[in-house]
């Protein structure tokens, strides 16, 4: 896979340099090592920031009686991901040769250690710790996607159990197929920063959960009517979207994986430009489309549109020209506007629109790679299907087991009073209006 070969190549070249690295090292190799590592660190903290973005976006789109719970879930899932990915996930995702349990399909789980203090291996091209840090954030993102869809009705602990399994096992396995140089990578599948590996995967897990969990009480009535349950704080939702937009420069830009050469940093620049304009055009597409369809702009759709634009460009943010990036992003925005109501028709209750944004736009983005590289089309389809099937089915099984053991759904009364009072015994906004409880 493009990303890794860069590496391996790099690795080979560098292999020339003596073992006990930096002292003797060719100064430029060391500078490249520093700059590559720096890219991971900056990219990593920007993607970490996306965790706050998801938290704000979701807190803004749920009703106030469920805000504290949504915040709790977001803090907890990010924390849990950090621990699970360290404990088993990272090594399942990046098995060294001989560390596969099932060659190219399943890596072996155990904590992988990073460089010891003060002993960088310059021949690696970048610091192992910075790579771990960067990759962890992608794992956490996958989990963040799930929490939004299932908001306002799922119990805290069963949700967290699922998160542990998703971040410790499901995500690392499917991601290893491509980024761990597994079978999809061999096959030529291309997913630069994770339209499928991260976003569609999160979307599939969310979809499985939504099906097992069912819709919020009162969301859909017998006669097929849909009762909107407006988000309680669109300022937060907008803030969350801007945070995600910012974090995405780290998400896509960092996925260049190297900044030690002029070409790499120029490519990172190109990625920044394409990522930004894809988000912008996704937002504009939703802006115009909601005006045309509904006679007025829907801010929540515009926010989803920007995110869909970002997801769409994530599979290939480098190759497209700005014009192509605009087209890819706009189509992402269009997808959201049409599929949000579609899900409602299917009575699949996705509170924040995560499935249209991450799953549907993720699939589109993965296919769109073929616009720049037609030869990969088949591999793209195989990858979309294989990862979709694996994540969806395994998630479905986990959700099903949880539903039939501990149970995943809050009682009707808990749902009525809200998860905050029911499960946390507090309120996010104790002094503000209680509109959510009646209108």
């Amino acid at each position: 896979m493009k990303r890794l070969t860069i590496f391996v190549a790099g690795g080979l070249v560098l292999a020339a340099t003596p073992a006990l690295a930096q002292e003797a090292a060719d100064p430029n190799v060391e500078v490249a090592y520093i700059l590559n590592t720096l890219l991971f660190l900056i990219g990593g903290f920007l993607v970490m920031w996306m965790a706050a973005g998801f938290a704000m976006l979701e807190a803004g789109l749920v009703r106030s009686k469920n805000v504290a719970m949504q915040l709790t879930k977001n803090v907890a899932l990010f924390s849990l991901a950090a621990i699970m990915f360290y404990a088993i996930g990272y090594n399942i995702m990046y098995p060294s040769d001989g560390e596969w349990l099932v060659q190219d399909y399943i890596g072996s789980p155990f904590p992988k250690s990073i460089d010891d203090v003060g002993s960088a291996d310059v021949s690696g091209g970048y610091s192992a710790g910075s790579d771990f840090f960067f990759q962890l954030m992608f794992c956490a993102t996958t989990a963040s996607i799930v929490s939004g869809t299932l908001a306002e009705r799922i119990k805290l602990w069963p949700f967290l159990i699922f998160v542990a399994i998703l971040t410790g096992i499901i995500y690392p396995i499917e991601a290893s197929w491509e980024w761990g140089t597994g079978w999809l990578d061999d096959m030529g599948f291309s997913d630069f920063a994770g339209s499928t590996l991260v976003h569609a995967a999160g979307g599939w897990a969310a979809l499985a959960g939504a099906i097992v969990l069912g819709a919020r009480k009162g969301k859909y009535d017998e006669k097929g009517g849909v009762n909107p349950m407006p988000g309680s704080n669109l300022a937060l939702a907008t803030l969350g979207t801007f945070i995600l937009w910012l974090g995405w420069f780290g998400f896509n830009g960092g996925s260049q994986l190297a900044m030690g050469t002029a070409n790499d940093v120029a490519d990172v620049s190109r990625i920044f430009v394409n990522t930004n304009v894809a988000a912008a055009s996704g937002a504009i597409a939703a802006l115009i489309l909601t005006q045309l369809l509904y006679g007025k702009v829907d801010l929540t759709m515009v926010l989803n549109g920007a995110l869909a634009g970002l997801v769409s460009i994530t599979a290939e943010p480098l190759a497209p020209t700005q014009l192509l990036a605009i087209i890819i992003g706009s189509i992402g925005g269009v997808i959201v506007v049409f599929t949000v109501p579609l899900l409602d028709k299917m009575k699949i209750d996705d509170v924040v629109g995560a499935i249209p944004v991450h799953l549907f736009a993720g699939i589109w983005g993965t296919l769109a790679v073929a616009i720049s590289a037609p030869e990969v089309l088949v591999a793209q389809i195989v990858g979309i299907l294989a990862i979709g099937a694996f994540v969806f089915i395994s998630s479905l099984i986990v959700w099903f087991i949880l539903a039939n053991s501990v149970g995943i759904r809050a009682t009707e009364e808990e749902e009525q009073v809200g998860m905050d009072s029911a499960e946390l015994g507090l309120e996010a906004y104790p002094e503000f209006g209680k509109g959510s409880q009646f209108v």
Binding site: L426, K434, Q437, F438
Partner: protein, 112 residues
């Protein structure tokens, strides 16, 4: 005419409103109140400190109806709002001497 004041559990509002529309009530006012009553007094913990919750969120519905509608309205509200659990609420009835529709200046029963 009578002013009917009903205090109910918030999640019952939609049902009650529909039931009232069903029997032809044409208008009403809804507001949020904090209720104190038998239901009050459960304890919560916040940052390790226990405290008693005295006030429970309730919905107050106020509507003015013609005298002959009163019993039916009471009946409708109390059956729809009832869950049998403590805290279901109360209905009060008071006399109203005049009513005016601002838009048309219609008076009394015509104004309802």
């Amino acid at each position: 005419m009578k002013l009917i004041i009903a205090v109910i559990k918030p999640f019952k509002l939609e049902e009650v409103r529909e039931a009232l529309t069903g029997i032809g009530v044409q208008g009403l006012m809804v507001s949020e109140v904090k209720g104190y009553g038998r239901q009050s007094g459960h304890t919560e913990i916040y940052r390790g400190a226990e405290y008693v919750v005295n006030f429970v969120p309730k919905i107050k519905i106020e509507m003015v109806v013609a005298d002959d509608r009163v019993d039916q309205v009471i009946e409708t509200i109390s059956t729809t709002a009832r869950t049998g659990k403590i805290g279901d609420g109360k209905i009060f009835v008071a006399g109203v001497e005049q009513a005016v529709r601002v838009r048309t200046d219609e008076r009394d029963e015509d104004a309802l």
